[in-house]
């Protein structure tokens, strides 16, 4: 760091020591096809710090047992650790109450739970669910399914050419029939950061409840569900440097209390007879069966790790990378960034002359650079911008400017291979 850079970093508050952070991630220190791995596919999933790996190993090795069942010592320890993870999640998103945290498999299951249970019980024929044009398939399809079942109508708020949500249109579409608004906090395909607080105000003015897909935002920005004002917030563990197969649904307690179960089984009941059963209070009501105990505990370890670094510092680090990458990519001839919203974070999507993103991805892979190429589970976004697919570089707390330089060098190689 130069003196000037150091003073800028100091002015911005505690900077993230990326070299130190990188030492915490064993996966980063490997070669791919004879070159150092440059991992820029973090929006798909993020690597795990050593402390998460050790926590998982330790719990399976020593503290493992089923939760909320045994009267024995190991079960007590496992239950304590599992519930402690719930408390860590609560604090992480500043939820008012630990009982509002439901462990699920991931963002997708969280949204399906809300759609099936909440949507399934409140939606009536002619009611409306409002989403946006930039949603991931997992924030489209569950709503289509529940609309089909209930006779409700799915409405889609458009985005503009830069990838901003068109606020006036959103406001127009949000009306007296709108029961649910489901919106991404941060778009995985465009990097657009949505004005969630404003959207919540509009939705609440019409009596609609707001579901936020936080899969991309939770690892990248400080999230405060009370400040956002939303009613449901969903995110995944594996994008948050934690294990796969674990995720979180946060919902206001009064909503959870009124919602019917999503799945039936052990753990979610109060009493079972053949004549009928009664349900446990939340969150147990929504955690049928043996949960992903170690997943939750591993996620707790990932949250501890992130809070040790500070979400503010992570957000600043990624923002600096995004600005650097945006400038560097703009100078690559023939490259066009898809998604230039006013507020962006974490990732940059692009197309490259008429070279298909899959070819770009394969050639970059041979340079050791991992990016995502495809439709990013957001086919309507691809259709909106008339591209079959994009390439996407997405950043994490452990990425460096040198890695973006490697991406740019790789893109020049793509150009020369294709004779451009």
């Amino acid at each position: 760091m130069s003196t000037a850079e150091r003073s800028v970093a100091a002015a911005m508050g505690a900077a993230l020591d990326v070299e130190r952070v990188r030492r915490d991630f064993p996966a980063l220190h490997q070669e791919v096809r004879g070159r150092p791995l440059v991992y820029l596919d973090n929006a798909a999933t993020a690597h795990k710090p050593q402390v998460v790996l050790e926590t998982i190993q330790r719990y399976y090795a020593m503290d493992y047992s089923n939760v909320h069942r045994g009267v024995h010592w190991l079960s007590e320890r496992a239950t304590e650790a599992y519930e402690a993870a719930r408390e860590k999640v609560r604090a992480f998103i500043n939820a008012p109450d630990r009982r509002e945290i439901v462990f699920v498999r991931g963002t997708t299951e969280a949204i399906n739970l809300v759609a099936a249970s909440y949507g399934g019980s409140v939606l009536k024929p002619g009611d409306e669910v409002l989403i946006t044009e930039m949603e991931h398939h997992s924030n489209i399809v569950p709503w289509q399914l529940v609309c089909e079942r209930t006779g409700a109508v799915l409405r889609v708020a458009p985005i503009d050419d830069d990838g901003n949500l068109v606020l006036e249109a959103f406001e127009r579409l949000c009306g007296e029939r709108t029961r649910i608004v489901a919106v991404t906090h941060l778009s995985n395909a465009l990097g657009t950061l949505n004005p969630v607080r404003r959207l919540v105000e509009i939705a609440h003015a019409h009596g609609a409840r707001v579901v936020v897909d936080g899969a991309q935002a939770a690892p990248r920005l400080p999230v405060d569900v009370q400040a956002l004002g939303c009613d449901f917030y969903a995110f995944s563990g594996h994008k948050l440097y934690g294990p796969t197969g674990i995720g979180v649904l946060w919902a206001r307690r009064e909503l959870l209390e009124a919602m019917p179960p999503y799945q039936g089984g052990g753990e979610m009941i109060r009493q079972v007879t053949f004549e009928g059963s009664t349900w446990a209070p939340p969150p147990a009501r929504f955690e049928a069966g043996t949960p992903h105990i170690v997943g939750a505990i591993g996620l707790g370890a990932a949250i501890d790790y992130l809070q040790g670094i500070g979400l503010e510092a992570i957000a600043r680090h990624e923002h600096a990378l995004l600005e650097y990458a945006t400038e560097a990519l703009a100078e690559v001839p023939g490259l066009r960034i898809v998604g230039n919203a006013r507020e962006r974070a974490g990732l940059v999507s692009f197309v490259f002359d008429d070279i298909h993103p899959h070819d770009v991805g394969t050639i970059l892979d041979h340079e050791g650079v991992a990016v995502r190429a495809g439709h990013h589970c957001a086919m309507p976004v691809m259709q909106r911008y008339c591209v079959p697919a994009t390439a996407r570089a997405s950043f994490a707390l452990y990425n460096t400017r040198e890695e973006i330089d490697a991406l740019v060098a790789g893109l020049h190689k793509v150009r020369s291979m294709f004779g451009r």
């Binding site: 394969t362 050639i363 691809m382």
Partner: protein, 148 residues
């Protein structure tokens, strides 16, 4: 380590830049749409089979990567003038080459062998086989096929 040049041979760049038999074919006797949901690639393949049972015209249109476009283009050259049975035999031979599971009967693949390098790139196999699965579907009278 697989070499990138084994995948991206000059012939492939050439067919990607100037795909042969590209466009719609009027009066097609067989037609199918191929779709790769993984990447959104999509193509339509048309055949016109003459009275002598031979493929007298073949064309394709659609959007895809260099591998899928070149593969479709090479396919059209390879099957023109063949009977449907001969085209199916080429399909089996090509599929066997890409999957590294040679077909029971040896098949002369000729120029199609430029795509042999794809077998070293598992993530790209579906790009190379999309057009061929679409051909197979068209011959079987199905109008849609997906590589998933």
């Amino acid at each position: 380590m697989s070499d990138l040049r084994d995948l991206y041979q000059e012939v492939i760049f050439d067919h990607n830049r100037r795909p042969r038999n590209f466009g719609r074919l009027e009066g097609a006797t067989h037609k199918a749409e191929g779709f790769n949901p993984l990447c959104g690639d999509q193509l339509t393949l048309y055949l016109r089979v003459g009275e002598d049972g031979r493929i007298e015209e073949v064309a394709f249109e659609g959007k895809g990567c260099a591998i899928s476009t070149a593969s479709a283009s090479l396919l059209t050259e390879a099957v023109k003038g063949k009977t449907l049975e001969e085209a199916e035999r080429l399909f089996r031979g090509f599929h066997g080459m890409i999957m590294d599971e040679p077909a029971a009967e040896p098949v002369e693949l000729g120029k199609l062998e430029v795509l042999a390098g794809v077998k070293e790139f598992p993530t790209r196999v579906k790009c190379a086989t999309l057009a061929w699965h679409t051909l197979h579907a068209a011959i079987e009278g199905k109008d849609q096929v997906s590589t998933e």
